[in-house]
């Protein structure tokens, strides 16, 4: 029974995300303002991976609205409200004649498979692909095995994320601001996505299960790796896509957070996915990808306060795109799609404010320049245990592949990651409260986790591009 309930907990957000995604990036046909040829759209597995993140966002936003309306957050109410939303989106899809499920074309699939088999003679590349696929599978098996073994264990989960989710699960309503339970964090210090998500799993399971509330985080990990794979596969060979998906799956801190009930991995998922789909927009100019990127960036801000930085960077890159590529004429059209999510975010903050949750980040902080941070920051990125040599190679790749960086897809991906890394350095340099957290090792690696998977994606694009070029170029 628990297995069925767990499946239900995963299926509802997947369905919501899938349906919403079909409206943005249709399986084929007319999407949000654009015709999507079949080869420009998304494979099914990628749809599930993006749909999971979108769907959890839809689910938790629904829970927030229900809570603010004073409705009890019980399984029937949350399920019915989400199901209602799925139905509405489904009706809209039907109205727009958007297909909600890929039509099986077995004959075509068979032909495709035959061609693949004929083309693909055994080679060193094929052996490498198999090895990498096995490595990737090993990583996923290890992560999922851990998740089903270990109860909640991390400090922040105990003192904030899982604690408040448990409170929500027991009380079935939004805790009031006067609610004082924790010694180390308050409900206002982060957005509520992760808390609602854990609460949802508790509701679906009909029990507070210390082990199974970690499942959504392993699902984020899996979805993130698949998004990186498919993101690279769009422009690179399968070997390169597998190689960098494997390397991304091997980031030690990312793996650690796959089983930790905290917001760091989900925000990394949203940041990476937002940057990848921004790249697709820049390359393909399908508005669906742009809106998807913006929605994912908004969800990053809904997951952790640091996600606001992700949203700001994505918006800044859009402005840069307009200026750099002389796309001023497209600006008006663009704004039609930029304004709604930004306005929605602003509205969400106002609502939160009215609900007496203070804004997640107070900008009224004392400024102080602390240059000693630079050395610590660089040392942590390059020599710390959380990343191996990822950031060192990223730096080297930026230098070596300099000429490859100017293709639009690679340019914006690199700019996104570098801006994130430098923005963190700026935050640590000037804001003393973060400086302290950095010195005691609490925050730094977890913050850079936000941009680490995107850095691997960038390297995948740039290295593949460089290796394709003739020597000396």
């Amino acid at each position: 029974m628990t297995e069925l309930r767990l499946a239900f907990a995963l299926i509802i957000p997947l369905l919501a995300g899938w349906t919403a995604l079909c409206l943005l990036v249709p399986l084929s046909g007319k999407g949000l303002g654009d015709q999507f040829p079949a080869h420009r759209t998304m494979p099914v597995l990628e749809r599930f991976s993006v749909g999971y993140g979108l769907g959890t966002g839809i689910l938790t936003t629904t829970m927030l609205l229900l809570g603010l309306l004073g409705m009890p957050l019980t399984l029937p109410i949350v399920s019915m409200a989400t199901a209602g939303l799925i139905l509405l989106m489904g009706i809209e899809a039907v109205r727009r004649k958007v297909r909600l499920w890929p039509v099986a074309e077995p004959r075509r699939w068979g032909a495709h498979l035959r061609i693949e088999l004929v083309r693909r003679r055994p080679s060193a590349g094929m052996v490498l692909e198999i090895l990498l696929a096995v490595g990737l599978l090993y990583r996923l098996v290890m992560v999922w095995a851990e998740v089903f073994l270990r109860p909640v264990f991390a400090w922040d989960a105990f003192t904030y994320w899982s604690l408040y989710a448990k409170v929500l699960f027991v009380e079935k309503q939004l805790p009031s601001q006067s609610y004082q339970i924790t010694a180390t964090g308050s409900l206002s210090s982060h957005p509520l996505h992760v808390i609602f998500l854990q609460d949802w799993f508790g509701l679906a399971l009909d029990q507070w299960n210390d082990v199974l509330i970690n499942v959504p985080f392993a699902a984020y990990y899996t979805a993130l790796i698949l998004i990186i794979y498919f993101g690279l596969r769009r422009s690179q060979s399968r070997l390169f896509a597998l190689l960098f998906a494997f390397l991304a799956s091997s980031l030690p801190l990312l793996v650690t957070h796959a089983g930790v009930a905290q917001g760091d991995l989900p925000v990394a998922y949203y940041a990476t996915a937002a940057s990848i789909y921004l790249g697709h927009w820049v390359t393909n100019r399908r508005v669906g990808f742009l809106v998807l990127s913006l929605v994912l960036a908004v969800l990053a801000a809904w997951t952790k306060a640091i996600g606001i930085l992700v949203l700001v960077i994505i918006l800044a890159l859009l402005v840069l795109w307009v200026i750099r590529d002389g796309q001023v004429r497209a600006w008006r059209r663009l704004m039609r799609y930029v304004i709604p999510p930004v306005a929605a975010l602003a509205a969400a903050f106002i609502v939160l404010r009215l609900a007496s949750f203070p804004l997640p980040v107070s900008l009224a902080q004392r400024f102080a320049f602390q240059p000693d941070v630079i050395e610590l920051y660089v040392r942590s990125l390059l020599m710390g245990g959380s990343w191996g040599i990822t950031w060192g190679v990223f730096l080297l790749v930026t230098v070596i592949c300099w000429r490859s960086l100017w293709s639009p897809r690679i340019f914006y991906a690199f700019l996104f990651t570098w801006t994130g890394v430098i923005a963190f350095l700026g935050i640590y340099l000037f804001l003393p409260q973060y400086h302290e957290n950095m010195l005691n090792g609490t925050l730094l690696d977890r913050n850079t986790l936000t941009f680490a998977p995107a850095s691997v994606y960038c390297m995948g694009l740039a290295i593949a591009e460089r290796l394709r070029r003739s020597p000396g170029r």
């Binding site: 095995a145 264990f153 989960a157 793996v255 191996g388």
Partner: protein
């Protein structure tokens, strides 16, 4: 206290051969400890109970040629509140030392090497008469179960074995810290990250050289360009990723032993020492829901309590006192039932009253109890 150890030495051999000790049967070669307890376990190991200033000392009069014998190997299982172990030896009137990180799993036996080949004070101490072992941090407590101690000359084979041991050892040191660290492990005292960067720096130098001498080098060397450098980076990165896969395997093994097949309370208890988790459950059952409680413990486990205690709430002003005294804590608590006072005794022996007018509500076990302040 004196512990008999069985050494590999035969009394007919010269003293210098006196270089391996196991503890499976009594012998005349005696190890001693300064304070605390040491017992021989049924499986032939020496179990040392470290208290505040325990040092495990080898037999005196070793007369070791430290120029030749420069590696001390200890095979042991440890579970104490320190994450490194110290080797001691004497140089003139000074006591010299070297630390190695240890794995406090308490479940598996690991081999630790003190590599003294680069230690001038070890070389100068020749002939070394006695060595000692202790937890690095002063006052650290815990147990160590020693299977074997050896003093060896450094050979190429031993070197390779040590390096491989360093590369492949599990990194999982702490029970809670799950940061599986690639950079944290190392070879020869260098983190793996640093070794990888050195190799990349070497690669950069070679590529630069090849590019500068392009016309004068043989054609078969000209493939050494920036693309080769990228391939080198990828190979090193893959090697570290594979090494990390080993960490994951160790983690899974350890977590399976810790958590698999246990009910939820058992899994949660595995995260905490003693009966703390059971005590929190007891408080939940004993006290009315939504009560406010004051939690008093001598351990960091304080921060987990609010999660487990909920719907009981922690408040600094509550009248109910939940007191749990971890036996290994630096400070302890004492309840005087006649005066109704709860006293904290610090590690310096100071006594501070932290509650008065208290009555015992429920006693969980020797370490945990619930009190109430009567106003």
């Amino acid at each position: 206290m004196t512990i008999s150890a069985c050494s590999a030495q035969d009394s007919r051999l010269p003293t210098e051969q006196f270089l391996r000790w196991s503890f499976d049967r009594p012998s005349s070669s005696n190890w001693t400890i300064t304070t605390g307890n040491a017992t021989r376990t049924p499986n032939g190991r020496l179990r040392v109970d470290f208290t505040e200033s325990t040092v495990l000392l080898s037999p005196a009069g070793l007369r070791l040629d430290s120029q030749r014998y420069n590696v001390v190997m200890v095979r042991a299982k440890t579970w104490n509140d320190d994450d490194s172990m110290t080797l001691l030896w004497q140089l003139g009137s000074r006591v010299e030392s070297m630390d190695v990180p240890i794995i406090n799993s308490g479940e598996e036996t690991y081999t630790y090497y003190f590599d003294l080949s680069q230690s001038p004070s070890w070389k100068m101490a020749s002939p070394v008469q006695q060595i000692g072992l202790m937890p690095t941090r002063q006052g650290a407590r815990g147990d160590m179960e020693i299977e074997e101690i050896r003093i060896l000359p450094r050979t190429a084979l031993l070197e390779a074995s040590i390096r491989w041991g360093e590369f492949s050892r599990p990194e999982y040191l702490s029970q809670f810290a799950k940061i599986l660290s690639v950079g944290g492990t190392g070879v020869g005292g260098q983190p793996l990250n640093a070794i990888a960067y050195w190799l990349i720096a070497l690669g950069i130098a070679v590529v630069y050289l090849v590019s500068a001498l392009r016309r004068s080098i043989p054609a078969w060397l000209r493939w050494l360009d920036s693309r080769a450098l990228l391939v080198l980076c990828l190979v090193l990165w893959l090697a570290l990723a594979a090494r990390f896969g080993l960490d994951q395997w160790h983690t899974l093994q350890r977590d399976t032993a810790l958590f698999a097949g246990k009910p939820m309370l058992g899994k949660q208890s595995a995260l905490l020492s003693g009966t703390y988790r059971q005590f929190l459950g007891f408080a939940q059952e004993t006290l009315p829901a939504n009560s406010s409680v004051r939690l008093i413990t001598n351990d960091l486990a304080f921060w987990m309590a609010q999660y487990y205690l909920y719907p009981l709430r922690i408040s600094e002003t509550a009248l109910l006192y939940l007191v749990y005294d971890f036996p290994n804590g630096a400070e302890h608590f004492q309840f005087d039932s006649s005066a109704g006072t709860l006293v904290r005794i610090t590690d310096q022996g100071e006594r501070q009253i932290i509650g008065s007018g208290l009555v015992l509500v429920a006693q969980f076990d020797a370490n945990g109890a619930i009190y109430e302040a009567r106003q």
